[in-house]
Symmetry: C2
Subunit: 173 residues, 2 copies
Amino acid sequence: MNTDHRSGCPINLSLEVFGDRWSLIILRDMIFGGRRHFRELLNGSIEGIASNILADRLKRLMELGMLTKADDPSHKQKAIYSLTEMAISLVPILAHLGAWGRVWLPVSEELSIRAELLEKGGPPMWEQFMVDLRHEHLGAPARASGPTVRAILQAGYEAVVARKALAAVRDPA
Amino acid sequence: MNTDHRSGCPINLSLEVFGDRWSLIILRDMIFGGRRHFRELLNGSIEGIASNILADRLKRLMELGMLTKADDPSHKQKAIYSLTEMAISLVPILAHLGAWGRVWLPVSEELSIRAELLEKGGPPMWEQFMVDLRHEHLGAPARASGPTVRAILQAGYEAVVARKALAAVRDPA
DNA sequence: AAATCCGATTGCATTTTGCAATCAGTTGCA
DNA sequence: TGCAACTGATTGCAAAATGCAATCGGATTT
């Protein structure tokens, strides 16, 4: 059980889990981007993770109980990574982190619209999102009605992108 | 403005601020431990930070706008580090992080009692705590009445330590 | 006058990271 | 059938970060 921790402080132990530059990025892409495969995570993240780091972090997150891995039945070579409840319960923290970053850091509009929507939706929206994720990743029952939270966030993102593209056409720099 | 960031994503930018093993530990010790001096931070943290890392992180956090440094008037050699609003507004995130760690990680009872109290106090208690911190670090007005939140957390900690010591006396292993 | 405390700094070995190339097996398509 | 593209990784290597111990010059305490 006690495998070499610096201290039993909750904040310290949390840092030992994702106190690095990539683990939370991977979880972000799985949670908000819906990515489930190695290549999706490798090519999909804007930040450009290296494949050896990705492999290492996926392994680590699995050992920590944040992810599981299964064979993709439709594709003998593909592996599907799933979030565990431990990872899904990070949603409120990611929402707070996004809100904090929006206030204090030089975020871009496109990439912070999701954080803004999630902040406005508040804890009820986070809870809906977690239900969606449990459905996707743990096989739990889906919500009865309405679009998924990820679809809502994605729609907001696309609206911003479209609006900026339109503005660029109208007013070429 | 744009000084070499991996992306404008709020979560990524947040990770660039404290996505390492020490920055949040230092902020934790300042926020919850009330430490203001280099030596207090050096000797006070259970995890045992090295002096060169501490010096580097203090400098970094100052450059990022999370801390300020001032001369201690009572001691020509001492420097006092203060939290900025940017750092104080991390309190809700630290509270969530502590709550998450308490559920999913092998925390020790002594070191997680603060997180437990903060969780039970909820957002109203966090807000009180932030008012206290603004008073301590920014010279803002103090709350009119009642003990500081840190004093409450500290009392809880000491109660646990005392209870465990008593149990050890009564039942020597 | 001596010892201790102050916020660091230095040197050095170890570990982690970043990057590019590569791997063997699987799949899709001509 | 042949072959290119794609699958989840692995390897080698240079650069950066970390951990650790010793040390610094000045200030304060005893």
